[in-house]
């Protein structure tokens, strides 16, 4: 508003004044390098440099002390492709992701619908469903390790079962998944809740007038209006779940779990780097992991762009 008024009035006053005003207005937005400089320094030191360094190390046989690294070409990558543990641990992380993502999406949606539709005590439901997310991952993991503990644990006692949750390879990852659902569903729940509150009420009123029942309103209004947020929840969950580490190691006392069944990909890279001191090899499998994560992120961007274009 101000700008158009200024430019209209200015020529009446004096040509030079108008020029200097526009110049000053523009100058305010020039040469902003100093604004981004502090961030860029930190970003370069702790994100970009480690990435470049990781790529470089992946072509060497570097050990943890960093000296006497020699160039070995593609040897690390060749070894990684034939390393059964790379495929196993990648499989464990993928299995975890496949279990967690659909469960968390559905559960978060149901909890949000519940909290949204109960008219009393909204803050209380929000607090109950979100509180676990505020715990550190290690505390959540210790808590569930204790709940799943054979003999002294509450889970088996309450449900009257004797499942060897933490010691049998067919249940161990499931135990990690259950802990993760309890611990992290609150975040997606809040996203859904915010999205539900953002749906304009007149849509429902109009549908009611047309005689739509509760089920129809959910299928034809709520779900379509939540499409974007569902895409976001799924994308964030896939990226986070592939990087699972904390819960799995803490629940298994920093071991790979029964028959290595909860050893995740992140855990394997850290074992190679810090236990076997093979920094070069660990870097190579980290770079492979980075490519996988980046591919997922790029796939989401591509899907979003396609949808935007088809919407136009």
């Amino acid at each position: 508003m101000t700008t158009s008024a200024q430019t209209v009035i200015a020529p009446v006053r004096a040509g030079t004044a108008a020029d200097s005003v526009t110049a000053r207005r523009k100058q305010g937005f020039q040469h902003g390098g100093w604004f981004v400089a502090p961030f860029l320094v930190l970003f370069a030191l702790f994100v970009i440099w480690p990435l470049l360094r990781g790529v470089w190390l992946s072509f060497t046989d570097a050990n943890i002390s960093g000296d006497s690294a020699s160039f070995v070409g593609l040897d690390n990558y060749r070894e990684a492709l034939q390393d059964p543990l790379v495929w196993d641990t990648l499989g464990h992380s993928a299995y975890f992701t496949l279990l967690v993502v659909p469960c968390i999406t559905v559960l978060a949606f149901l909890l949000a619908m519940l909290a949204h539709h109960i008219e009393r005590g909204k803050w209380l439901w929000r607090l109950c469903f979100f509180a676990p997310f505020l715990l550190p991952s290690t505390v959540a993991a210790n808590l569930w390790q204790w709940l799943f503990n054979p003999g002294t644990g509450m889970i088996n006692y309450v449900f009257g079962i004797e499942t060897p949750w933490l010691t049998d390879k067919s249940y161990a990852m499931l135990a990690v998944v259950i802990c993760t659902l309890w611990w992290t569903v609150g975040f997606s729940f809040l996203l859904y809740l915010a999205a539900l509150q953002g749906i304009p009420g007149h849509l429902y009123e109009a549908a009611k007038l047309d005689g739509a029942n509760a089920w129809h309103r959910m299928v034809h209004i709520t779900l379509p209006m939540l499409r974007n947020i569902t895409g976001l929840v799924i994308a964030l969950q896939i990226l986070a779940s592939l990087q699972v580490f904390d819960q799995a190691v803490v629940m298994m006392d920093f071991l790979p779990g029964p028959e290595g069944s909860t050893r995740t990909f992140v855990q394997y890279t850290l074992e190679e780097g810090f236990t076997s001191y093979r920094v070069g090899y660990a870097s190579a499998i980290s770079v492979i992991f980075f490519v996988i994560i980046a591919a997922v992120a790029l796939a989401r961007m591509w899907l979003l762009r396609n949808r935007e274009e088809s919407a136009r």
Binding site: L135, A194, V250
Partner: protein, 282 residues
Amino acid sequence: MSTAAQPRKPWTPSQIVLTLLGTAVSAAFLAPFAWALFTSLKSETEAVQVPPHWLPEDWTGQAWKALFETGNITNWFVNSVVVSVCVTSVVLLVSALAGYGFARTEFRGKSALMGLVMAGLMISPAVLGVPLFTTVQQMGMVDTYWGMILPQCAPAAMVYILYKFFQGIPRELEEAAFIDGAGRWRVFFTIVLPLSRPSLAAVGIFTFIASWNNFLWPYMVTNNPDLMTMPNGIATVMNSYGIQWAQLMAGGLMAGLPLIIVFVFFQRQIVAGVAHTGLAGQ
């Protein structure tokens, strides 16, 4: 929004059913907390009795007392506070500046740098832990506060969120101030920042939660038990010499309760903050 303004509605059958359902689900969500609390109030021998029972037969503060007397839990607590407060302050300052720089100013190579920041969204200590560690090791920052704090201070995500937000502020306000002769920095600190308080609060809250709860990076970069943060100390030191469950649960509650208490008081801001930071990724 609309529900708050309306008068209280009567208990309809569907509201009764929903409320009962909500209560049951909430009880299931809170049961693990209750189990932790009751365990921490048992003696170590009673805690491991088979079969387990909910309430302690002998209520005792033994585990809590032992926690403070024998362990370094107070050290860990202080370290957690120092690290989270430093990380949050630096992140707020640095990412607000950078977000504004990218949203509003022109400089050479801006779009290339923005692309780099977007790429940074895909990089985390979980993905690049080993090379990040060797970098920090080369800088001589292993087992120091610096080593724990600085690598957490370059979150591309927060810059991106604030960038999106600053883009949404109408330019006219700043332009008017420039015409009145205000400098760029004055405009930023006296006009732009006060306008962005809700977004800054969101970023600050989210960064604090993430940093307080961060395990992976402090775990990689510290070996000295005196320097550990709460999540790290509890998971490594307390888990290492034969788990004492009552003490472990007491420690866990001590690590988790501060944020939960803060949440009860600042619920609205935190909910808005989490929703805001999450939704910005849309």
